[in-house]
Protein backbone atom coordinates (compact mmCIF):
# COMPACT_ATOMS: atom_id res chain seq x y z
CA UNK A 1 0.00 0.00 0.00
CA UNK A 2 1.49 3.34 -0.99
CA UNK A 3 1.81 6.13 1.52
CA UNK A 4 -0.79 8.83 1.65
CA UNK A 5 1.01 11.94 0.53
CA UNK A 6 0.21 14.82 -1.74
CA UNK A 7 -0.91 14.35 -5.31
CA UNK A 8 0.04 17.21 -7.56
CA UNK A 9 -1.02 17.89 -11.11
CA UNK A 10 1.05 20.47 -12.95
CA UNK A 11 1.31 21.99 -16.39
CA UNK A 12 -2.00 20.44 -17.44
CA UNK A 13 -3.22 21.78 -20.77
CA UNK A 14 -6.10 20.69 -22.96
CA UNK A 15 -7.45 21.90 -26.27
CA UNK A 16 -10.67 20.53 -27.72
CA UNK A 17 -11.63 21.40 -31.29
CA UNK A 18 -9.12 24.27 -31.43
CA UNK A 19 -10.55 25.74 -28.22
CA UNK A 20 -8.00 26.08 -25.43
CA UNK A 21 -9.92 24.88 -22.38
CA UNK A 22 -7.03 25.45 -20.03
CA UNK A 23 -3.27 25.79 -20.13
CA UNK A 24 -0.60 24.94 -17.55
CA UNK A 25 -3.04 24.28 -14.72
CA UNK A 26 -1.63 23.34 -11.36
CA UNK A 27 -3.49 21.62 -8.54
CA UNK A 28 -2.11 20.17 -5.32
CA UNK A 29 -4.20 17.84 -3.17
CA UNK A 30 -3.42 16.86 0.39
CA UNK A 31 -4.53 13.50 1.83
CA UNK A 32 -8.09 13.70 3.08
CA UNK A 33 -8.57 17.15 1.63
CA UNK A 34 -11.87 18.11 0.09
CA UNK A 35 -11.62 20.59 -2.74
CA UNK A 36 -14.75 22.05 -4.27
CA UNK A 37 -14.32 23.08 -7.88
CA UNK A 38 -16.84 25.51 -9.27
CA UNK A 39 -17.14 27.21 -12.61
CA UNK A 40 -19.60 28.09 -15.32
CA UNK A 41 -20.88 25.58 -17.86
CA UNK A 42 -18.35 24.77 -20.56
CA UNK A 43 -15.33 25.97 -18.59
CA UNK A 44 -13.93 22.42 -18.58
CA UNK A 45 -14.59 21.13 -15.05
CA UNK A 46 -15.64 17.67 -16.23
CA UNK A 47 -12.77 17.54 -18.72
CA UNK A 48 -10.33 18.38 -15.94
CA UNK A 49 -11.73 15.60 -13.74
CA UNK A 50 -11.54 13.10 -16.59
CA UNK A 51 -7.91 14.06 -17.17
CA UNK A 52 -7.11 13.72 -13.46
CA UNK A 53 -8.70 10.26 -13.46
CA UNK A 54 -6.53 9.05 -16.33
CA UNK A 55 -9.52 8.56 -18.62
CA UNK A 56 -8.58 11.45 -20.90
CA UNK A 57 -5.17 12.46 -22.18
CA UNK A 58 -4.16 16.08 -21.71
CA UNK A 59 -2.12 17.80 -24.39
CA UNK A 60 0.53 18.30 -21.78
CA UNK A 61 0.88 17.70 -18.06
CA UNK A 62 2.70 15.97 -15.25
CA UNK A 63 1.60 14.28 -12.09
CA UNK A 64 3.44 13.89 -8.82
CA UNK A 65 2.65 11.06 -6.43
CA UNK A 66 4.62 9.07 -3.88
CA UNK A 67 7.03 12.01 -3.80
CA UNK A 68 8.10 11.68 -7.44
CA UNK A 69 7.04 13.60 -10.49
CA UNK A 70 5.97 11.53 -13.50
CA UNK A 71 5.19 12.27 -17.10
CA UNK A 72 1.57 11.74 -18.04
CA UNK A 73 2.29 8.57 -19.95
CA UNK A 74 3.82 7.00 -16.86
CA UNK A 75 1.27 8.44 -14.45
CA UNK A 76 -1.76 7.24 -16.39
CA UNK A 77 -1.78 3.63 -15.25
CA UNK A 78 -1.23 4.75 -11.64
CA UNK A 79 -4.13 7.19 -11.93
CA UNK A 80 -6.40 4.49 -13.33
CA UNK A 81 -5.59 2.26 -10.36
CA UNK A 82 -5.69 4.89 -7.60
CA UNK A 83 -8.19 7.49 -8.71
CA UNK A 84 -11.92 6.88 -9.07
CA UNK A 85 -14.10 9.16 -11.15
CA UNK A 86 -17.84 9.26 -10.65
CA UNK A 87 -19.97 10.60 -13.48
CA UNK A 88 -22.67 13.12 -12.77
CA UNK A 89 -25.15 10.29 -13.30
CA UNK A 90 -23.10 7.30 -12.15
CA UNK A 91 -23.16 4.19 -14.28
CA UNK A 92 -24.09 0.95 -12.58
CA UNK A 93 -23.43 -2.28 -14.43
CA UNK A 94 -26.27 -4.52 -15.54
CA UNK A 95 -25.91 -6.73 -12.49
CA UNK A 96 -26.88 -6.80 -8.83
CA UNK A 97 -25.77 -4.03 -6.50
CA UNK A 98 -23.50 -6.54 -4.79
CA UNK A 99 -21.84 -7.45 -8.10
CA UNK A 100 -21.39 -3.74 -8.83
CA UNK A 101 -19.55 -3.24 -5.57
CA UNK A 102 -17.38 -6.32 -5.92
CA UNK A 103 -16.39 -5.39 -9.50
CA UNK A 104 -13.62 -2.99 -8.52
CA UNK A 105 -12.46 -5.17 -5.63
CA UNK A 106 -12.04 -8.12 -8.00
CA UNK A 107 -10.10 -5.93 -10.44
CA UNK A 108 -7.78 -5.00 -7.59
CA UNK A 109 -7.02 -8.66 -7.00
CA UNK A 110 -9.40 -9.57 -4.20
CA UNK A 111 -10.85 -13.09 -4.20
CA UNK A 112 -14.54 -13.45 -4.99
CA UNK A 113 -15.55 -14.64 -1.53
CA UNK A 114 -13.67 -11.88 0.29
CA UNK A 115 -15.04 -9.28 -2.12
CA UNK A 116 -18.59 -10.47 -1.49
CA UNK A 117 -18.12 -10.36 2.27
CA UNK A 118 -16.74 -6.85 2.02
CA UNK A 119 -19.60 -5.71 -0.19
CA UNK A 120 -22.15 -7.16 2.22
CA UNK A 121 -20.47 -5.46 5.14
CA UNK A 122 -20.26 -2.13 3.32
CA UNK A 123 -23.90 -2.24 2.28
CA UNK A 124 -25.00 -3.02 5.82
CA UNK A 125 -22.98 -0.23 7.34
CA UNK A 126 -24.20 2.25 4.77
CA UNK A 127 -27.80 1.26 5.44
CA UNK A 128 -28.19 -0.03 1.88
CA UNK A 129 -28.41 -3.76 2.65
CA UNK A 130 -31.95 -3.88 1.26
CA UNK A 131 -30.52 -3.08 -2.20
CA UNK A 132 -27.95 -5.88 -2.23
CA UNK A 133 -29.70 -8.17 -4.71
CA UNK A 134 -31.50 -5.43 -6.65
CA UNK A 135 -30.42 -4.76 -10.21
CA UNK A 136 -28.21 -1.72 -10.56
CA UNK A 137 -30.39 -0.64 -13.48
CA UNK A 138 -33.51 -0.41 -11.36
CA UNK A 139 -32.37 2.01 -8.69
CA UNK A 140 -33.41 5.61 -8.33
CA UNK A 141 -30.93 8.39 -9.09
CA UNK A 142 -30.11 8.92 -5.41
CA UNK A 143 -29.69 5.20 -4.75
CA UNK A 144 -27.39 4.91 -7.74
CA UNK A 145 -25.26 7.75 -6.49
CA UNK A 146 -24.94 6.16 -3.04
CA UNK A 147 -24.14 2.71 -4.42
CA UNK A 148 -21.55 4.25 -6.74
CA UNK A 149 -19.99 6.11 -3.80
CA UNK A 150 -19.91 2.90 -1.79
CA UNK A 151 -18.37 1.11 -4.77
CA UNK A 152 -15.63 3.74 -4.81
CA UNK A 153 -15.23 3.75 -1.04
CA UNK A 154 -14.51 0.03 -0.70
CA UNK A 155 -11.55 0.53 -3.06
CA UNK A 156 -10.06 3.09 -0.68
CA UNK A 157 -8.76 5.22 -3.57
CA UNK A 158 -6.17 7.94 -3.14
CA UNK A 159 -8.33 10.44 -4.93
CA UNK A 160 -12.03 10.50 -5.68
CA UNK A 161 -13.45 12.82 -8.31
CA UNK A 162 -17.14 13.58 -8.03
CA UNK A 163 -18.84 15.32 -10.91
CA UNK A 164 -21.90 17.16 -9.62
CA UNK A 165 -22.72 14.39 -7.13
CA UNK A 166 -25.93 15.88 -5.73
CA UNK A 167 -27.32 17.47 -8.89
CA UNK A 168 -31.11 17.13 -9.09
CA UNK A 169 -31.39 15.34 -5.73
CA UNK A 170 -33.92 16.16 -3.08
CA UNK A 171 -32.64 17.43 0.24
CA UNK A 172 -32.81 14.13 2.12
CA UNK A 173 -31.02 12.18 -0.63
CA UNK A 174 -28.43 14.95 -0.77
CA UNK A 175 -27.70 14.69 2.93
CA UNK A 176 -27.37 10.91 2.85
CA UNK A 177 -24.97 11.24 -0.08
CA UNK A 178 -22.94 13.90 1.71
CA UNK A 179 -22.71 11.57 4.70
CA UNK A 180 -21.09 8.89 2.53
CA UNK A 181 -18.74 11.50 1.12
CA UNK A 182 -17.69 12.31 4.67
CA UNK A 183 -16.79 8.63 5.22
CA UNK A 184 -14.39 8.87 2.33
CA UNK A 185 -12.74 11.94 3.77
CA UNK A 186 -12.34 10.26 7.14
CA UNK A 187 -10.45 7.45 5.40
CA UNK A 188 -7.89 9.90 4.07
CA UNK A 189 -9.26 9.92 0.54
CA UNK A 190 -8.67 13.23 -1.24
CA UNK A 191 -11.75 14.58 -2.92
CA UNK A 192 -12.42 16.95 -5.77
CA UNK A 193 -16.08 17.82 -6.19
CA UNK A 194 -17.44 19.89 -9.03
CA UNK A 195 -20.59 21.79 -8.26
CA UNK A 196 -22.79 24.45 -9.71
CA UNK A 197 -24.04 25.07 -6.20
CA UNK A 198 -20.76 24.86 -4.25
CA UNK A 199 -22.34 26.07 -1.00
CA UNK A 200 -23.99 22.66 -0.64
CA UNK A 201 -20.54 21.27 0.17
CA UNK A 202 -19.62 23.96 2.67
CA UNK A 203 -19.64 21.54 5.66
CA UNK A 204 -17.08 19.30 3.92
CA UNK A 205 -14.95 21.69 1.88
CA UNK A 206 -11.40 22.49 2.93
CA UNK A 207 -10.84 24.63 -0.12
CA UNK A 208 -12.93 26.24 -2.81
CA UNK A 209 -11.40 26.89 -6.20
CA UNK A 210 -12.90 28.24 -9.38
CA UNK A 211 -12.14 27.36 -12.97
CA UNK A 212 -12.64 30.43 -15.08
CA UNK A 213 -11.24 31.43 -18.47
CA UNK A 214 -8.89 28.45 -18.37
CA UNK A 215 -7.38 29.31 -15.01
CA UNK A 216 -7.77 27.85 -11.53
CA UNK A 217 -8.12 30.50 -8.86
CA UNK A 218 -8.81 30.41 -5.13
CA UNK A 219 -12.43 31.32 -4.48
CA UNK A 220 -14.00 32.75 -1.32
CA UNK A 221 -14.75 30.25 1.50
CA UNK A 222 -18.17 28.66 1.22
CA UNK A 223 -21.03 29.56 3.52
CA UNK A 224 -23.46 26.72 4.28
CA UNK A 225 -26.94 26.66 2.78
CA UNK A 226 -29.69 26.84 5.42
CA UNK A 227 -31.13 23.34 5.64
CA UNK A 228 -34.05 21.64 7.29
CA UNK A 229 -31.85 18.56 7.70
CA UNK A 230 -29.28 18.78 10.43
CA UNK A 231 -26.37 16.38 10.45
CA UNK A 232 -27.94 14.58 13.42
CA UNK A 233 -30.86 13.63 11.24
CA UNK A 234 -28.64 11.76 8.82
CA UNK A 235 -28.82 8.04 9.70
CA UNK A 236 -25.63 6.76 11.23
CA UNK A 237 -24.64 3.34 9.92
CA UNK A 238 -24.59 0.81 12.71
CA UNK A 239 -21.18 -0.16 14.01
CA UNK A 240 -19.29 2.50 12.12
CA UNK A 241 -16.65 4.53 13.95
CA UNK A 242 -14.63 7.41 12.61
CA UNK A 243 -11.74 6.30 10.51
CA UNK A 244 -12.57 2.59 10.85
CA UNK A 245 -11.91 0.49 7.75
CA UNK A 246 -13.82 -2.65 6.91
CA UNK A 247 -12.12 -5.85 8.01
Amino acid sequence: MSTRDDIEFSGVSKTINTRHLFQHLQLNLNPGECVVLSGDNGEGKTTLLRIMSGLLHPDDGRCQYNGTQHTWQRARSWLLKNVVYLHQAPYLFDASVEANITYGLRRHGMYRKAARAMATDALQRAGLAHLQQRSGKQLSGGERQRVALLRAWVLSPRLLLLDEPVASMDERARHTTLFLVRWLLQDGVSLVITAHEPRLFAPLADRHIRLQHGELNAAPPLTPVPSSYTEQMIPTPEGYHDGQRFQ
Binding site: L80, D94, L155
Partner: protein, 233 residues
Amino acid sequence: MDHLQNAFVRALHLLFSGDRDLWTIVGISFSVSMRAIVIATPFAMVIAFLMAMTTFPGKRTLVMIIHTLQAFPAVVVGLTVYMVLSRQGPLGTWHLLFTETAMIIGQVILCMPLMISMSHATFAGADKRAWETARTLGANLVRATLTFFYEFRFALLAAFIAGFARIIAEVGSSVMVGGNIYNYTRNIPTAIALETSKGEFSQGVALGLILLLLAFGLNVFLHLMQREQTRPV
Protein backbone atom coordinates in the same frame (compact mmCIF):
# COMPACT_ATOMS: atom_id res chain seq x y z
CA MET B 1 -52.48 -28.60 -55.28
CA ASP B 2 -52.08 -32.36 -54.77
CA HIS B 3 -48.54 -31.98 -55.98
CA LEU B 4 -47.74 -29.52 -53.16
CA GLN B 5 -49.64 -31.56 -50.59
CA ASN B 6 -47.79 -34.75 -51.50
CA ALA B 7 -44.42 -32.98 -51.32
CA PHE B 8 -45.29 -31.64 -47.89
CA VAL B 9 -46.44 -35.05 -46.58
CA ARG B 10 -43.33 -36.77 -47.92
CA ALA B 11 -41.19 -34.01 -46.40
CA LEU B 12 -42.73 -34.62 -42.97
CA HIS B 13 -42.13 -38.34 -43.40
CA LEU B 14 -38.46 -37.70 -44.25
CA LEU B 15 -38.08 -35.45 -41.24
CA PHE B 16 -39.58 -37.83 -38.71
CA SER B 17 -38.31 -41.12 -40.17
CA GLY B 18 -34.72 -40.14 -39.42
CA ASP B 19 -33.67 -40.18 -43.08
CA ARG B 20 -29.89 -40.50 -43.01
CA ASP B 21 -29.20 -38.42 -46.13
CA LEU B 22 -31.35 -35.57 -44.93
CA TRP B 23 -29.78 -35.41 -41.47
CA THR B 24 -26.27 -35.65 -42.93
CA ILE B 25 -27.01 -32.55 -44.99
CA VAL B 26 -28.36 -30.79 -41.89
CA GLY B 27 -25.27 -31.80 -39.92
CA ILE B 28 -22.89 -30.45 -42.57
CA SER B 29 -24.84 -27.22 -42.77
CA PHE B 30 -24.75 -26.58 -39.04
CA SER B 31 -21.16 -27.73 -38.64
CA VAL B 32 -19.88 -25.39 -41.37
CA SER B 33 -21.98 -22.37 -40.40
CA MET B 34 -21.33 -22.69 -36.66
CA ARG B 35 -17.59 -22.82 -37.25
CA ALA B 36 -17.79 -19.83 -39.59
CA ILE B 37 -19.78 -17.74 -37.10
CA VAL B 38 -17.50 -18.70 -34.20
CA ILE B 39 -14.47 -17.58 -36.23
CA ALA B 40 -16.13 -14.39 -37.49
CA THR B 41 -17.66 -13.19 -34.19
CA PRO B 42 -14.55 -12.13 -32.22
CA PHE B 43 -13.02 -10.41 -35.25
CA ALA B 44 -16.26 -8.62 -36.08
CA MET B 45 -16.80 -7.48 -32.48
CA VAL B 46 -13.27 -6.20 -32.01
CA ILE B 47 -13.21 -4.40 -35.38
CA ALA B 48 -16.61 -2.82 -34.63
CA PHE B 49 -15.48 -1.84 -31.14
CA LEU B 50 -12.29 -0.18 -32.40
CA MET B 51 -14.22 1.62 -35.13
CA ALA B 52 -16.68 2.97 -32.58
CA MET B 53 -14.26 3.89 -29.81
CA THR B 54 -11.35 5.37 -31.74
CA THR B 55 -10.87 8.06 -34.31
CA PHE B 56 -8.51 7.66 -37.23
CA PRO B 57 -8.16 9.08 -40.74
CA GLY B 58 -10.48 7.39 -43.22
CA LYS B 59 -12.87 6.10 -40.57
CA ARG B 60 -15.98 7.33 -42.40
CA THR B 61 -14.79 5.78 -45.63
CA LEU B 62 -14.19 2.48 -43.86
CA VAL B 63 -17.69 2.56 -42.35
CA MET B 64 -19.16 3.23 -45.81
CA ILE B 65 -17.18 0.39 -47.35
CA ILE B 66 -18.34 -2.05 -44.67
CA HIS B 67 -21.94 -0.94 -45.10
CA THR B 68 -21.59 -1.49 -48.83
CA LEU B 69 -20.10 -4.94 -48.32
CA GLN B 70 -23.30 -6.01 -46.56
CA ALA B 71 -24.82 -6.15 -50.00
CA PHE B 72 -21.95 -8.25 -51.36
CA PRO B 73 -23.74 -11.04 -53.30
CA ALA B 74 -22.93 -14.52 -52.00
CA VAL B 75 -22.15 -15.67 -55.50
CA VAL B 76 -19.52 -12.93 -55.90
CA VAL B 77 -17.95 -13.96 -52.60
CA GLY B 78 -17.95 -17.52 -53.92
CA LEU B 79 -16.34 -16.41 -57.16
CA THR B 80 -13.63 -14.46 -55.32
CA VAL B 81 -12.82 -17.31 -52.91
CA TYR B 82 -12.92 -19.75 -55.83
CA MET B 83 -10.33 -17.73 -57.74
CA VAL B 84 -8.09 -17.45 -54.69
CA LEU B 85 -8.30 -21.17 -53.85
CA SER B 86 -8.34 -22.60 -57.36
CA ARG B 87 -5.20 -24.30 -58.67
CA GLN B 88 -4.08 -21.14 -60.48
CA GLY B 89 -4.91 -18.91 -57.49
CA PRO B 90 -2.49 -17.61 -54.86
CA LEU B 91 -3.61 -20.26 -52.34
CA GLY B 92 -4.07 -23.04 -54.88
CA THR B 93 -1.33 -25.16 -53.34
CA TRP B 94 -3.34 -25.43 -50.14
CA HIS B 95 -5.89 -27.69 -51.92
CA LEU B 96 -8.83 -26.21 -50.08
CA LEU B 97 -11.29 -25.87 -52.96
CA PHE B 98 -14.38 -28.09 -52.62
CA THR B 99 -13.82 -28.65 -48.90
CA GLU B 100 -15.70 -27.57 -45.81
CA THR B 101 -12.81 -25.19 -45.05
CA ALA B 102 -13.44 -23.35 -48.32
CA MET B 103 -17.13 -23.08 -47.43
CA ILE B 104 -16.20 -21.71 -44.00
CA ILE B 105 -13.90 -19.09 -45.56
CA GLY B 106 -16.69 -17.97 -47.87
CA GLN B 107 -19.23 -17.80 -45.05
CA VAL B 108 -16.87 -15.84 -42.77
CA ILE B 109 -16.41 -13.27 -45.53
CA LEU B 110 -20.16 -13.15 -46.07
CA CYS B 111 -21.24 -12.57 -42.48
CA MET B 112 -18.43 -10.26 -41.33
CA PRO B 113 -19.69 -6.99 -42.90
CA LEU B 114 -23.20 -7.52 -41.52
CA MET B 115 -21.92 -8.37 -38.04
CA ILE B 116 -19.45 -5.47 -38.02
CA SER B 117 -22.15 -3.02 -39.14
CA MET B 118 -24.66 -4.15 -36.54
CA SER B 119 -22.09 -4.29 -33.74
CA HIS B 120 -20.66 -0.93 -34.75
CA ALA B 121 -24.12 0.62 -34.56
CA THR B 122 -24.50 -0.90 -31.09
CA PHE B 123 -21.15 0.36 -29.83
CA ALA B 124 -21.51 3.78 -31.44
CA GLY B 125 -24.82 4.32 -29.66
CA ALA B 126 -23.75 2.62 -26.43
CA ASP B 127 -23.35 4.45 -23.17
CA LYS B 128 -19.59 5.08 -22.97
CA ARG B 129 -19.85 5.52 -19.22
CA ALA B 130 -19.86 1.71 -19.00
CA TRP B 131 -16.34 1.61 -20.42
CA GLU B 132 -15.12 4.56 -18.36
CA THR B 133 -16.59 3.14 -15.16
CA ALA B 134 -14.86 -0.18 -15.73
CA ARG B 135 -11.54 1.59 -16.36
CA THR B 136 -11.80 3.91 -13.37
CA LEU B 137 -12.61 0.95 -11.12
CA GLY B 138 -9.31 -0.63 -12.08
CA ALA B 139 -10.16 -2.87 -15.04
CA ASN B 140 -7.39 -3.26 -17.60
CA LEU B 141 -8.08 -2.69 -21.30
CA VAL B 142 -9.11 -6.28 -22.03
CA ARG B 143 -11.32 -6.61 -18.98
CA ALA B 144 -12.97 -3.23 -19.58
CA THR B 145 -13.65 -4.25 -23.18
CA LEU B 146 -15.22 -7.53 -22.08
CA THR B 147 -17.34 -5.67 -19.52
CA PHE B 148 -18.46 -3.29 -22.24
CA PHE B 149 -19.41 -6.23 -24.49
CA TYR B 150 -21.32 -7.82 -21.62
CA GLU B 151 -23.26 -4.64 -20.92
CA PHE B 152 -24.54 -4.60 -24.49
CA ARG B 153 -24.72 -8.35 -24.97
CA PHE B 154 -28.32 -8.47 -26.15
CA ALA B 155 -27.74 -6.08 -29.04
CA LEU B 156 -24.57 -8.02 -29.90
CA LEU B 157 -26.52 -11.26 -29.73
CA ALA B 158 -28.86 -9.84 -32.37
CA ALA B 159 -25.82 -9.19 -34.60
CA PHE B 160 -24.67 -12.77 -34.00
CA ILE B 161 -28.05 -14.20 -34.95
CA ALA B 162 -28.33 -11.98 -38.03
CA GLY B 163 -24.87 -13.16 -39.13
CA PHE B 164 -25.79 -16.79 -38.61
CA ALA B 165 -29.06 -16.38 -40.48
CA ARG B 166 -27.15 -14.80 -43.36
CA ILE B 167 -24.83 -17.79 -43.83
CA ILE B 168 -26.98 -20.79 -42.91
CA ALA B 169 -29.28 -20.04 -45.83
CA GLU B 170 -26.78 -18.82 -48.44
CA VAL B 171 -26.32 -20.91 -51.53
CA GLY B 172 -24.10 -18.92 -53.91
CA SER B 173 -20.82 -19.16 -52.09
CA SER B 174 -21.28 -22.71 -50.75
CA VAL B 175 -22.12 -24.22 -54.11
CA MET B 176 -19.16 -22.54 -55.83
CA VAL B 177 -16.41 -23.25 -53.32
CA GLY B 178 -17.93 -26.38 -51.74
CA GLY B 179 -18.97 -28.04 -54.94
CA ASN B 180 -22.17 -29.54 -53.46
CA ILE B 181 -20.48 -32.93 -52.99
CA TYR B 182 -22.76 -35.62 -51.58
CA ASN B 183 -22.02 -36.48 -47.95
CA TYR B 184 -19.14 -34.02 -47.88
CA THR B 185 -19.98 -30.42 -48.75
CA ARG B 186 -23.70 -30.62 -49.53
CA ASN B 187 -25.52 -28.34 -47.10
CA ILE B 188 -29.19 -27.34 -46.74
CA PRO B 189 -29.40 -24.54 -49.34
CA THR B 190 -27.28 -26.32 -51.96
CA ALA B 191 -29.31 -29.51 -51.46
CA ILE B 192 -32.60 -27.58 -51.84
CA ALA B 193 -31.34 -26.05 -55.10
CA LEU B 194 -30.21 -29.45 -56.41
CA GLU B 195 -33.34 -31.40 -55.44
CA THR B 196 -35.57 -28.70 -56.91
CA SER B 197 -33.67 -28.81 -60.20
CA LYS B 198 -34.24 -32.58 -60.24
CA GLY B 199 -37.95 -32.16 -59.56
CA GLU B 200 -37.62 -33.90 -56.15
CA PHE B 201 -39.45 -31.42 -53.98
CA SER B 202 -39.98 -33.47 -50.82
CA GLN B 203 -36.42 -33.28 -49.54
CA GLY B 204 -36.25 -29.58 -50.48
CA VAL B 205 -39.45 -28.90 -48.54
CA ALA B 206 -38.16 -30.87 -45.53
CA LEU B 207 -34.91 -28.92 -45.50
CA GLY B 208 -36.80 -25.67 -45.98
CA LEU B 209 -38.92 -26.53 -42.93
CA ILE B 210 -35.76 -27.05 -40.90
CA LEU B 211 -34.48 -23.62 -41.93
CA LEU B 212 -37.81 -22.05 -40.96
CA LEU B 213 -37.77 -23.84 -37.61
CA LEU B 214 -34.24 -22.63 -37.05
CA ALA B 215 -35.20 -19.02 -37.77
CA PHE B 216 -38.15 -19.34 -35.40
CA GLY B 217 -35.96 -20.91 -32.70
CA LEU B 218 -33.36 -18.15 -32.95
CA ASN B 219 -36.03 -15.47 -32.67
CA VAL B 220 -37.59 -17.15 -29.64
CA PHE B 221 -34.14 -17.40 -28.05
CA LEU B 222 -33.41 -13.70 -28.67
CA HIS B 223 -36.82 -12.72 -27.35
CA LEU B 224 -36.33 -14.77 -24.17
CA MET B 225 -32.88 -13.29 -23.59
CA GLN B 226 -34.18 -9.75 -24.01
CA ARG B 227 -37.04 -10.47 -21.62
CA GLU B 228 -34.49 -11.79 -19.12
CA GLN B 229 -32.70 -8.44 -19.31
CA THR B 230 -35.73 -6.55 -18.05
CA ARG B 231 -36.23 -8.82 -15.05
CA PRO B 232 -34.81 -7.77 -11.69
CA VAL B 233 -31.61 -9.55 -10.67
